[in-house]
Symmetry: C2
Subunit: 167 residues, 2 copies
């Protein structure tokens, strides 16, 4: 009963960065758990981060490197793992002898489908928790933040990427 420390409330951080970080971690943990429960044992957050940059119709490995903000070697290693798990496959690019095309296997597409379902379930849970109005405001603010982001100087910037809608 000598337990009496913590003289005061410890005041955890409450700034936007901390909140975003906590919320992001919570979402990812929930999503990853559901994915694994759905049978996708190969799933991890790092892999999810990369897969998020691979459109359903595939992409070039080099294009992936530009968009995911990690080194090309990191991309390659993640792809190596995903290929070994039969989630994606790599084909030579017929238009460039150096390049490779990355695309989903059937297993990968199945996982995407499950992922979409899980996303909606989580989203529904969020709406239940904070209300439709607040959820909409959250998405609105996050999109605005992303749109207003200091576009990377030069670097073949995207002319106008209106991908900020639909899904």
């Amino acid at each position: 009963m000598v337990k009496e420390l913590d003289e005061k409330a410890e005041a955890l951080p409450d700034h936007v960065g901390w909140r975003l970080w906590q919320a992001s971690r919570a979402w990812q943990a929930e999503f990853a758990a559901a994915m694994r429960a759905a049978g996708h044992a190969w799933f991890s957050e790092a892999r999810a981060g990369l897969l998020g940059h691979i459109p359903r119709n595939g992409t070039r490995q080099s294009a992936l490197i530009e968009r995911a903000a990690i080194s090309k070697q990191a991309v390659q290693q993640l792809l190596d793992g995903l290929e070994a798990e039969d989630v994606i496959e790599r084909l030579p690019d017929p238009r460039d002898g150096r390049g490779k095309l990355v695309r989903y296997t059937r297993k990968g597409l199945d996982a995407l489908r499950d992922g979409d379902r899980i996303k909606l379930e989580i989203e529904r849970g969020y709406i239940d928790r904070i209300g439709e109005w607040r959820f909409a405001a959250l998405m609105d603010a996050l999109r605005a933040l992303d749109a207003g982001r200091g576009d990377e100087p030069e670097t073949t910037t995207r002319p106008r990427d209106e991908t900020a809608e639909s899904k």
Copy 2:
């Protein structure tokens, strides 16, 4: 330039998890860059995550383990590094021969101060970007999300079980 692939817009994800993740990463990258620019070369995101759980008046190492959602060995290793960098120090807990108290050194407190300043600067930038109103809505939604999360271990709670685990 035979750069002409990407038959169509690739439609990056636009769900709440993705947005949160991107926003969180962007914030952390901005913060870490500013911290390092301010002379705190030891700064890293993982360390920041742990420091966020250490109040200014210090805490017990074991209390840290409960709050940061990582293993006690991970906490220890991070603390080892922070101690080696002279950011925190560990003292024996006079009230428990097994325990140790973790508290900031002067260098650590200096870093906290710089961190507070940088946080405010980033926040100001966000407000400039999306407007005060939207920023407030963002914080409100994030706080509500966190408050509605019912996963604190033990604790005395139990009054309302509104966490309806949803479907």
